[in-house]
Amino acid sequence: MGSRTRPYRALLGARMRAQSSYRASFGLDLVSSLLIGLVELAEVWVLYRAVDEIGGLDLTAALVVFGLADTAFSIADLLVGHVDRLPDYLRAGTFDVFCLRPQPLLAQLITSDISLRRLTRVGVGFAVLIVGLIANDVTLTPSSVLLVLLSLLTGTAICTGIFVAAAGAQFFLIDAAEMTNSVVYGGRYAANQPGSVWSRPLIAVFGFGVPMAFTGYLPTLTLLDLPVPWNLPDWAGWLAPLAAIWMWGLAGLSWRTGTRHYQGGGG
């Protein structure tokens, strides 16, 4: 096991050392990513200044949605967010260099970088989650603790899957990062809101296609015993692992097709 992970530990360690060697800019990045997190939170809060309820959720429930979904996305962003720079890697020939090393290409891409500056963003999401849980008087039972942990874990898996799926598409769509970003970051934005206010196309896309609803909204409903829409059962929040498996199936397919295309058709 140790020797299996040795290459990846070396790669990640190198990136961490490289990032911390630019101390001032690393500090600024930490602060700016904290501020962005707070602004996104303020957006939710401002909406609730005008109304008491959105889509059947009050502010405290919305905080749980935000906390779960944003923590999961931020962890995914920290771990694999850099995969959306794949077009740069292709242009600079870095991807060709990956091909010369005896590790799987995706594993190399994922461990080629790590965005520690996003730590503060994870902190914001997690703090909001804790506040939301306390405000809702969620009792600490084995099942509630398990549901929260499971949601964070599978939510992170779903979001990393989305990043990877988007990266696979970049092999075809050089310079189309804006299109894939609309799904990735649009999904993040949608996931931070109650899913019950989504329009039908949004439900299709972010409820089931790219299953963002399973990163925050649905687990929150199950956790807080709120009515679940879309003809789903009350325990829909527990289905998040299935959503994660589905998302990783899509991600694997997209990545495979993308690398085949690169080796077969690109230049």
């Binding site: 020797s3 040795r6 290459p7 530990r9 070396a10 790669l11 190198a14 050392r17 490289a18 060697s21 600079a92 020939g93 870095t94 060709d96 260099v97 091909c99 010369l100 090393r101 005896p102 590790q103 799987p104 080796q263 077969g264 058709g265 230049g267």
Partner: protein, 318 residues
């Protein structure tokens, strides 16, 4: 068994032109070559001749459109990860080093990537650092190295896992004379010590004449010559170029014996004359020039690959 073997290897690219129309170009056309372990082969050709495409197919980066390639007895694409343990590649234009970190870190990381034991890592790193004379800038971040220093680092890390085959794509491009010479000497020593097979693409006939026993010349994707450098010079005469700076503007020197006037600059103040060293000498040509004009300065240029390729064309009657 040959270390590189290709059979009718072909690679086509589709280029998008305006709108939805596309045009197909053949980068490598029906290439059949066989290279034995221990050989040292120069793979030469003009820009766009298909050299890098061939290397990418041999390394498993690109899939051939048709035909087959075996590198170290392995299928490059489907057995890419096994091949990576036995193959070293240096791309002159793209770096394998970690830009932000000291050069020494790149050795450490690549040792982990190839899972070398600590002893092997220490031993091999020490050997490469000594032979390549990297000691003085081992602690310098790669982004601060000069091009020559960086290329020495690139070649050294590509050899860290002791590959049996080393492929170099334009390793001396942009290097000064001293750096080129160092790199060549190192490659010769590495080959003598470990029997490493070398395949290098280059524009520099100096690389070829000092490093390679065999030459493969590609032109527009097709193999145009396969044999020794001496054989190539017999077919196309490796011409050198005498560049003379004259004291006064002079009409083009067209009628010199055994020389071809290639061009003039500044009203004939500088003239470029090609000659075949097997037929005449630089001294004889200089004497002939001196009869017609006063020479202020001169230099002699090595033959370049473009010129060789052009003349292979001519000799084949195209």
């Amino acid at each position: 068994m040959p270390i590189i073997q290709t059979e009718a290897l072909t690679r086509r690219f589709r280029l998008r032109t305006k709108g939805f129309r596309s045009r197909e170009i053949t980068a490598i056309d029906d290439l059949t070559i066989s290279i034995e372990a221990g050989e040292s082969v120069g793979y030469i050709g003009a820009n766009g001749a298909g050299k890098s495409t061939t290397i990418k197919m041999l390394a498993g980066i690109l899939v051939p459109s048709s035909g087959t390639a075996l590198t170290c007895g392995l299928q490059p694409v489907s057995q890419r990860r096994q091949l990576a343990r036995r193959l070293g590649v240096v791309f002159g234009q793209r770096s394998q080093l970690w830009w932000d970190l000291p050069l020494a870190e790149s050795f450490r990381i690549l040792a982990a990537i190839h899972d070398l034991s600590r002893d092997r890592e220490r031993e091999r790193t020490a050997e490469l650092v000594e032979n390549m004379e990297l000691e003085e800038f081992l602690a310098t971040p790669v982004r601060q190295l000069s091009l020559g220093q960086r290329m020495r680092g690139e070649v050294a890390v590509a050899l860290l896992h002791s590959p049996e085959l080393l492929v170099l794509d334009e390793p001396t491009i942009g290097l000064d004379v001293v750096s080129k010479q160092r790199l060549r000497e190192f490659l010769l020593a590495e080959r003598a010590a470990h029997g490493t097979t070398l395949l290098l693409t280059t524009h520099d006939m100096g690389d070829v004449s000092r490093l390679c026993e065999r030459i493969l010349l590609v032109d527009q994707g097709r193999l145009a010559y396969d044999g020794s450098l001496a054989g190539l010079s017999r077919t196309v005469a490796m011409r050198r170029v005498l560049v003379v700076d004259l004291a006064e503007p002079t009409p083009d020197l067209h009628d010199l014996p055994h020389a071809e006037h290639l061009g003039s600059e500044a009203d004939g103040l500088r003239q470029r004359l090609a000659f075949d060293p097997e037929v005449t000498t630089a001294a004889a040509l200089l004497a002939a020039v001196s009869e017609q004009a006063a020479v202020r300065d001169l230099s002699v240029e090595e033959p370049d690959v473009e010129d060789v390729v052009r003349r292979v064309y001519v000799s084949r009657g195209r």
